[in-house]
Structure formats: C-alpha cells, structure tokens
Symmetry: C2
Subunit: 271 residues, 2 copies
C-alpha cells in the first residue's frame, strides 16, 4: 500500500523519502525515491509531511516515537485500517504537529514493493478522519493528495469509520475464514473439485495476511465484537427457520437479503 | 441452466423437445428446439432421455408424475442442486425407468432463457450420482453428454454430494446473506460508499434467487444444519479469542485459514 502510494504521489512530490526496514524493498525503490533509509529518525528529519503506511499498531508506536525523533513537529497522515486508536494518539501529539487519519478502501492480497501499483487508488474511496489535532490546511492538503492519486475522499469521524469497516470489511474477513475452516474441517479434497465461483468469492479474503488482520481486529475489537453479536443473532434466527422448516419465515429473511444486496449494488454503481 | 444445457446439447441431439410453463420462454426457444410445449406429458411422450431442469422440489414432483404420463418408461436425468432426496425418488421409479442424478457446478445470478449460454458448462465440474436405478448404459450416456458440453464429470454418492455442497455452496450462501443483513442493519448508506472488493465478493451470492435457495436449503436441511453447527462452533472459538485479546490463539486460527485457502487454491488450479 505504501509503495503504491509512493509511486502514485511521485509526480506531485518535490522530494520523496522512503523508510523501510527491509533491505530488498529499499533496493527496489532506490530509483523511485530521492532518499531511502531504514531509519525512521533519519527519514522524518526534514519531512514536511510524514505518511505512515504500516500495520495499525505499528502506526501507534511510530506516532509515539515521532516527537522524540522530530521535536520541531511536522504534518502527519496515516493509511492504517482502523482509525479510533490512531486518531486518539494523533490528537495527543504535541501542538507543533498537525495530523489526520486516512484509510484508502482498496488493497491487494499480495503485498510488498514488488506488487506496488501507481493506479491502485484510482477510482477508490479514501476515508479521511479529522480529530482535535487536524488543521483546515492539512485537511485541504490531504484532499489534494487524494485527488492527485485519483481516489475519492470521504470525511468520517474515526468511530464511524471503525463501525462501518467492522461491518463491511472485518466481519466479512472473519466469515470468509470461518467458511474456509468449516469446509476444510471435512478433510475431503473432493470439496475443492466440486466448489465453484460462490466458494471462490466468499473464501477469497480468508487468504489475507494473518498478522495484518490481527492488528486490525485487535485495534477495532469493540466494533468487530458488536458486528459479530449482530451476525450471531441473525445466524441463530435463520438456523431456527431452517430447523423448523418455516418456509414463510425463510422466504422473508432471504428475500430481505436479496433486496438489501440490490440496494447496495445500486448505491455502489451510482456513487 | 436448462436453456444453456439445451443450447450446448443441440449439436449432439437429433430431436430436441423443450417443456416450459412460461409463454415467453417457449417463444424464445422456438428456433432452438424441434418441439416446444407447456405440457410435461406431451413433452416426455416420445423422449428417449428426459432431463429435468427445475428447482429440486419440482424435480421430485415431476419424477412422481413421470410413471403416469410415460407408463412405458424412459431414461431420466436431472440437474437439481441437491441429490439425496431426488435420487431416493429416482430409485423408487418403476423398473422400466433408468435414471441418474446430475449437478453441474456452475450457475448464473440471472436466470431465464434470455441469459442462456451454450458455453456455461465448459471447464466446469459436473457431478453424477448413481443410485439403485442407474444402469451402466445410462451412466455412460451421461458421461458422454457431459463431455459434449465441455464439462468434467465426477461420480459421487448422493449423500456425499449433499454434504460437500452444504459446505462449499449452501453455507457460503447463508454466510453471504448474513453479512449483507448485518451490514444493512446499520442503516447507514455510507457503509456502501466505504465498501470495497472484500464486501463485493463475500456478499455477491446473497443476491441469489430466494425461492431457488429455499428449495435447496429445505431439500438439504440435515447437511446444511450440520455445517451450520460446525460454523457456529468455530465462530464461538474465534469470537472468544478476540474477546480475550488472545493474540497467539488468533494467530494460529487465522494462519490455519490462510493455509487452508492456499491448499484449496492449489487443488483447484491443479484440477
């Protein structure tokens, strides 16, 4: 995600520094950036805008490190997957920092600089989360940056972002993993031969990086547990309808899901 | 599904009759078939092979009607989504009938003759279910038919078929509908703006036809409830890990899902 952002922003950036711990990544982006380093302190020393593109809990750590390595302050943005905890830490930065939370709603199953793509963000939604430490100037800079990379900005409070993504991203990930694990528990490879596009699509995101997902789930625990509780309530209802062979109740329930899917598709196509 | 099969089989069929209740469908397939009728009795009168392509419970009804309208018997196959109940009724047909269960593992979200596609079955898995009333000759005919339309036959006992599809098709449908209904319960259209490919793919089959799915769920109730129970057990486990912020347990659980997804993809690509 960070590599793609660096590529997409390169034409609009006078000086680009990339900080990465991995020697291979640093070698791969040597031509793209003006300065490449493994040192966070060295990387942020002269930056006017620092963009943190690491897992959510690592973002929190770097935010806490920032006032030490960059005591005179700078502008900070992140592209982490959860926003409440990150924006809380951002709001606690000393006054010489201005900061804004960000979350581009796109991703790749494969990561690393080799998979970077300057067009990754084109046409995608990019959430911006203001907080007490967000200035109007930084907000405008962030919107310009998002426009440069071809994405569509949307402003949401951090808690709203986290509640929405719990339902449309984190819970779907858990359901996808649950489907994968349930099917695999049969220990019958004929299941994969018989499987078709329905299983392919519903199981796809179960292949996501576990460490990235643990970071997301643990930094969005409350919202995810809320959505899990709602999912559980509905699971119990539909299971009961099936157990009772209650065809009218099943019809209402499944028709509602179909209508909601139709509505979602209409909004998505229209937006 | 029936329209696509008729199109795909046309080049290999001396005489093709299509039976359909819908006047528009009958008009649409007038050029494709040699004889088009709304009467099941008239349609099967001279057929050497009858292929039933209606929802699972309607297949059961037609199988029970068949000895009345075609007392001298014929060969019968179906392409219904569940097999145990259908094959049980097939096995009870009088001895002048020979029959075999079939289930092509493909589908379209849109149905009707207008969506028919002669290439729908190409490269897809096509399950065949033998039972007490299946002759070696009919089994061979069914394999030839499947080869003609470009699909790959696999032989499974009806109960095995139903157990496998409960896990890789019917449970994923319910999980997809549950995700759709859980997200819609927030009543916040911003969720759809923020949603990306993960939600698009995991929610896709929630748009399936409810009546078709009710037919499938009610004719495969036992196997679906078994898979729901397994899903529920795993849902409780992963929810507890998250509630307890048990990072090592979460890591094992999610890494297992990722490995299983990798294994599934390898088998699927290799097959």
């Amino acid at each position: 995600m960070g590599g793609s952002l660096a590529m997409a922003l390169r034409p609009f950036t006078l000086h680009l520094t990339i900080v990465d711990r991995d020697p291979e990544t640093r070698a791969a982006c040597a031509e793209l950036a003006d300065f490449v380093t493994d040192s966070f302190a060295a990387g942020v020393r002269d930056a006017s805008l620092v963009i943190l593109a690491v897992p959510a809990r690592a973002i929190v750590q770097l935010l806490q490190e920032l006032p030490i390595v960059r005591p005179d302050g700078c502008a900070v943005m992140d592209i982490g997957s959860t926003k409440t905890e990150i924006c809380r830490v951002m709001a606690d930065l000393p006054p010489q920092f201005e900061s804004i939370g960000g979350h581009p709603m796109c991703g790749k199953e494969i990561s690393g600089f080799g998979a970077a793509d300057a067009d990754l963000y084109r046409g995608q939604t990019f959430v911006l989360c203001d907080h007490a430490g967000t200035t109007a100037v930084l907000r405008e800079t962030a919107v310009q940056l998002i426009t440069h990379i071809g994405a569509n900005p949307i402003h949401l409070p951090p808690q709203t972002h986290d509640r929405l993504v719990a339902a449309i991203s984190h819970l779907p990930y858990l359901a996808s993993a649950l489907l994968m694990r349930t099917a695999a528990a049969m220990e019958d490879n004929r299941a994969w031969t018989v499987s078709a596009s329905g299983f392919r699509d519903t199981s796809r995101i179960s292949g996501s990086d576990p460490q990235m997902m643990i970071d997301i789930l643990l930094t969005n625990k409350t919202a995810v547990l809320d959505q899990l509780a709602q999912f559980q309530k509905m699971l119990t209802a539909v299971s009961t309808h099936l157990q009772n062979e209650d065809e009218p109740a099943l019809r209402v329930w499944l028709t509602q899901a179909q209508s909601e899917h139709q509505h979602y598709k209409e909004i998505k196509t229209g937006s």
